[in-house]
Amino acid sequence: MPQNLNRYRHILDFALASLLRRRARNFSLFALYTLILFLLASLIFFVQAIKREASLTLVNAPELVVQRMIAGRHDLIPLEYAKKISEIRGVTSVVPRLWGYYYDPVFGANYTLLVPDSDQPQPGSIIIGAGVARNQRIKQGDLLTLQTASKTALLLTVQGIYPTDSEILSSDLMVMATDDFRTMFNFPLDKATDLAVTVANQREQATVAAKIAETFPDTRPILRGEMLRTYQNLFDWRGGMLVVMFGVALLAFVIFAWDKASGLSADERQEIGILKSIGWETSDVLLLKFWEGMVISLTAFLCGVLLAYCHVFFFSALLFQQALKGWSVLYPSFTLVPTVDLYQLTILFFLTVLPYTAATIIPSWLAATVPPDTAMRS
């Protein structure tokens, strides 16, 4: 083995032995460090996977959705708007969307009721999401009772259940025929929830949206790009719970770094003094301290990231579930497709491993530059 490499290995041996000498302190430091990195990496993996899912699936969302606003609230849109919008140059089609929410007083869950514009279920039948089936404990062919707006019961036969693979989109869906939907909510025949507009040229979407807003000042056009961007900004670091998590993790990390940077213990000073007096160079001492910091931080980083990957993609982010469920009764059960964002992991590495290692070296450098006898007496 080359002599230089052998020197590094001896120093690494010494650093490891030194860490083991103060094993209780260093193991607790390592465990806490790993926990912080595990939480941060879990968040990164989870958020990136959701964002990827949104960007790949919602790419087929309506190009433009037109909502009507009254008194600052989303209101039903008259179908005559659809006719006028379809006359705008560049608009290929305008499809009225019928959808709404239904609160189930028995199970306490909220469902999304929806009418597709094609391939509708037969009147009297319904297709439900896997979450609804799980929540209501029903299967294909069973009868489902909903309470209409006029407080009468609407009996629907479960025609099908969306596969569990699509739960991230369809978990709470109840897809029904137009007639059933209108009966359900006493929905006016001349209105829709909103309008899905298709524009021939993608570049003209914003122009068409501007024209719609100009022609109908009481409407709000929402572009597909805006829908996708909403999900790219989901779980934003400024979000309440996330900022608390980041804050706690950052604070814990600052405490680590502060503990290290605020100075060495008397034992550590004495150790440096002894090493210097037996012939160690300042560079050797710094190398020793570098290895001590690196062993803890690099190992914690690798362990934290690997554990986070298993947590999010093999155990469906078990620790985050209570926060994600909130007060909802119906919680979609989905397995995320793994995504590893090397850019974000690199940032995490540079934000955690390097500052800690630097915080280990600086006080050691200060101690190593004083004469050995002074260091030993301090």
């Binding site: 041996d13 490891l16 989109l169 779980f235 919680y331």
Partner: protein, 116 residues
């Protein structure tokens, strides 16, 4: 050195005599290999899931969906892309957000905004 040897013996007595650095380097290499396997696994799963993702994208197209079903507790967290930025607070003047998922969902990002 004597101390180091005795420590090696006491901590790793079930293993053949091995330098601490050898153990550490082996562990680190194993962890780095696992990390690389993690990247490969993610890439493999992405390729394997392409058909399912396409099916989900088709479902979005067929039903004209606009949102993922992540939180069902409030309408503005069920359909964040369709909601207003002030939706959590519109129930009555001065209303406070009280759904946990409301703190995870950012307000919709409107590029072209004629209304809030």
């Amino acid at each position: 050195m004597r101390e180091f040897n005795s420590m090696t013996k006491s901590y790793f007595k079930h293993l053949p005599a091995m330098r601490l650095s050898t153990l550490y380097i082996s562990f680190t290499i194993a962890a780095v290999v696992l990390s690389l396997l993690m990247v490969i696994h993610a890439s493999y799963r992405q390729t394997a899931a392409q058909r399912k993702i396409q099916e989900r994208a088709d479902l979005v197209a067929n039903l004209k969906l606009t949102d993922l079903c992540l939180f069902t507790e409030a309408r503005y967290t069920r359909h964040p892309a369709m909601s207003d930025s002030f939706a959590p607070f519109q129930d009555y003047p001065g209303a406070l957000e009280h759904f946990p998922s409301g703190s995870l969902v950012s307000p919709p990002m409107r590029n072209y905004a004629t209304k809030p």
